[in-house]
C-alpha cells in the first residue's frame, strides 16, 4: 500500500538504531527479500532511497520540457501524436515515482516544493537544449535508451514500491526508444541535409548521454552502500559500457559517426570510449548548463499558473463534503 501516514511515527525518536535490527535487515536484503514501506529500515536506507527516487521523479517531470518544445512543430501528425503520448508517459512516470517516494514518509508536495526551491536535483541531461527535430529522435534513441539501461536493474531493487514503479516505467520506455530510433532512421534515409541534422544532434548529445550514468566508479560517493543494500545492481561504469556496446552498432546501422575519434573495439568486443569531460558534468550539476535556469523557470511558472486549478478543486471538494454532511444531519 502506498501511504505515507503509517510511516511517520518511528522516524525521529529512534536516535540509536538497534544493531540486531540492522543485522536482520541486512539478512533480509541478502536473502533477496523485498523491503516494504512499513518494514523496519535503517534511517540511512530511507534517506538514500528518498533522495534517489525523488530525484528520479523530478527528472521525469523536467524531462517533459525539452520535448514539449517540439510538439507544435512535429513534422507530421503521426509524429505529433507519438510525441504527445510519450510526454504524457513521462508525466505518468513522475507520478509513479513520487508515489513510491511518498511511501518513505515525505509528501509529494514537499518534494515538488524542494525542486522548485532549487534544493533538489534532477538528471543533468535535461539541461541541454533541443535545437532541431533530430534532437527529439536522439532523445528517444539515446536518452531513453540510457534510462532503460539504468532502470532495468532497478526493477530488482530491494525496495518494493520502487521496483514495482520501475517495472511499469520500463514497459513504457521501450516505445519511447523505438519512436526515437525511427525518427533517426527516417532522417538518415532522407536528404543530405536531413542526415546532416541527425549527425549534428548525435554530436551534441553523445557525451552528455554518457554522463547520465553518473561519475566514474572510483569517485562515486553513493555506490558502496547502495550496492550493499541492493538498490544498485551494477556500477556506473558497467552500465555505461553496456550502453555504449549496445548503441555503437545502432549508430553504424544509421550510417552516423559517434563523435569520439579515439573509440576502439577491444579484443572482447567492447567499444572503449575516450575520457569523459567531467568538468562539464560538474558545471551542469552546479546549475551552469545551457538550460538550467530556463527549466526551473518553466517549472515554477507551470506550478504557479496551476495554483488556481488546485485551489478550485479543493474548494469544490470541500463544498460538496459540507453539503453531504448537512444532508446527513437532516
Amino acid at each position: 500500500m502506498y501511504t505515507q501516514a503509517l510511516n511517520t511515527s518511528d522516524g525521529e525518536d529512534r536516535g540509536v538504531e538497534d544493531a540486531a535490527q540492522a543485522a536482520r535487515f541486512q539478512a533480509r536484503i541478502d536473502a533477496e527479500e523485498r523491503i516494504e514501506p512499513n518494514d523496519w529500515m535503517p534511517a540511512a536506507y530511507r534517506k538514500t532511497l528518498l533522495r534517489q527516487i525523488s530525484q528520479h521523479a523530478h527528472s521525469e517531470v523536467v524531462g517533459m520540457l525539452p520535448e514539449g518544445n517540439w510538439i507544435t512543430r512535429a513534422p507530421t501528425l503521426r509524429r505529433k501524436v507519438a510525441l504527445l503520448a510519450k510526454i504524457q508517459d513521462e508525466c505518468g512516470h513522475g507520478l509513479y515515482l513520487y508515489s513510491a517516494a511518498e511511501t518513505l514518509g515525505s509528501s509529494r508536495e514537499e518534494m515538488v516544493d524542494a525542486l522548485l526551491a532549487g534544493k533538489a536535483k534532477y538528471s543533468s541531461i535535461f539541461n541541454y537544449p533541443t535545437l532541431t527535430w533530430a534532437d527529439i529522435g536522439t532523445i528517444g534513441w539515446l536518452v531513453d535508451g540510457a534510462a532503460i539501461m539504468n532502470q532495468i536493474p532497478l526493477c530488482r531493487c530491494s525496495y518494493g514500491p520502487y521496483a514495482r514503479a520501475m517495472i511499469r516505467v520500463c514497459k513504457e520506455e521501450s516505445f519511447h526508444q523505438r519512436q526515437g530510433y525511427e525518427i533517426m532512421l527516417t532522417l538518415c534515409r532522407g536528404s543530405a541535409e536531413q542526415k546532416a541534422m541527425a549527425q549534428d544532434a548525435l554530436d551534441r548529445w553523445w557525451w552528455p548521454v554518457l554522463m547520465m550514468f553518473g561519475p566514474p566508479d572510483q569517485v562515486s560517493q553513493h555506490s558502496d552502500t547502495s550496492t550493499k543494500w541492493k538498490i544498485k545492481r551494477f556500477s556506473n561504469d558497467e552500465l555505461r559500457q553496456k550502453f555504449v556496446d549496445a548503441t555503437v552498432p545502432q549508430a553504424q546501422f544509421l550510417g552516423l559517426t559517434v563523435p569520439d575519434p579515439g573509440m576502439k573495439q577491444d579484443a572482447e568486443g567492447h567499444w572503449r570510449y575516450s575520457e569523459i569531460d567531467w568538468d562539464e558534468f560538474k558545471q551542469v550539476l552546479a546549475g551552469n548548463g545551457p538550460c538550467n535556469r530556463d527549466r526551473m523557470a518553466a517549472r515554477r511558472k507551470a506550478h504557479d499558473d496551476g495554483a488556481w486549478v488546485r485551489e478550485a478543486a479543493a474548494a469544490y471538494a470541500e463544498k460538496r463534503q459540507a453539503r453531504q454532511h448537512a444532508q446527513a444531519a437532516e
Binding site: M1, Y2, T3, Q4, A5, L6, E36, N38, D39, W40, A85, Q88, D89, G92, L95, Y96, S99, E102, S107, R108, E109, E110, V112, D113, A165, R168, E172, H303, R310, A313, A314, Y316, A317, R320
Partner: protein, 95 residues
C-alpha cells in the same frame, strides 16, 4: 508558501472480467470524481483495465508488519488444515 497537500487515493483495477480488482498504485486528487479520471489517464493508457476502484488511502487499515509473526502464527501451526495431513490408502485412488 508551501503547496497544500491533496488527498491520496489507492487505485485498484480489474484487468479482465472474471478477475478481481488488483492494487496498481496511488495518486493525488481533491475528490473521488477527479481521482477516477486521473486513475483512467494514469493507469489505463494501454488498455490495462475494464473497471477502476479508488479508495482514500486514509480509509485503509493495515496490519503491522512488525507483528506479522504473532498475526499469522495460527496459520503456520495448524498443519491439519491441509489435505496432505490425512492419510488415504493408494488403492482408494485420487481424492
Amino acid at each position: 508558501m508551501a503547496t497544500p497537500n491533496t488527498t491520496l487515493w489507492e487505485v485498484f483495477i480489474r484487468s479482465r472480467n472474471g478477475l478481481a480488482h488488483k492494487h496498481c498504485g496511488s495518486l493525488h486528487a481533491s475528490d473521488a470524481t477527479m481521482a477516477l479520471q486521473a486513475a483512467r489517464d494514469i493507469y489505463t493508457r494501454r488498455g490495462e483495465g475494464l473497471s477502476i476502484w479508488v479508495v482514500p488511502s486514509s480509509a485503509i487499515t493495515a496490519s503491522d508488519p512488525s507483528e506479522k509473526g504473532m498475526m499469522f502464527e495460527p496459520a503456520e501451526s495448524k498443519i491439519y488444515r491441509h489435505p496432505t495431513f490425512y492419510e488415504v490408502p493408494e488403492e482408494v485412488g485420487h481424492m
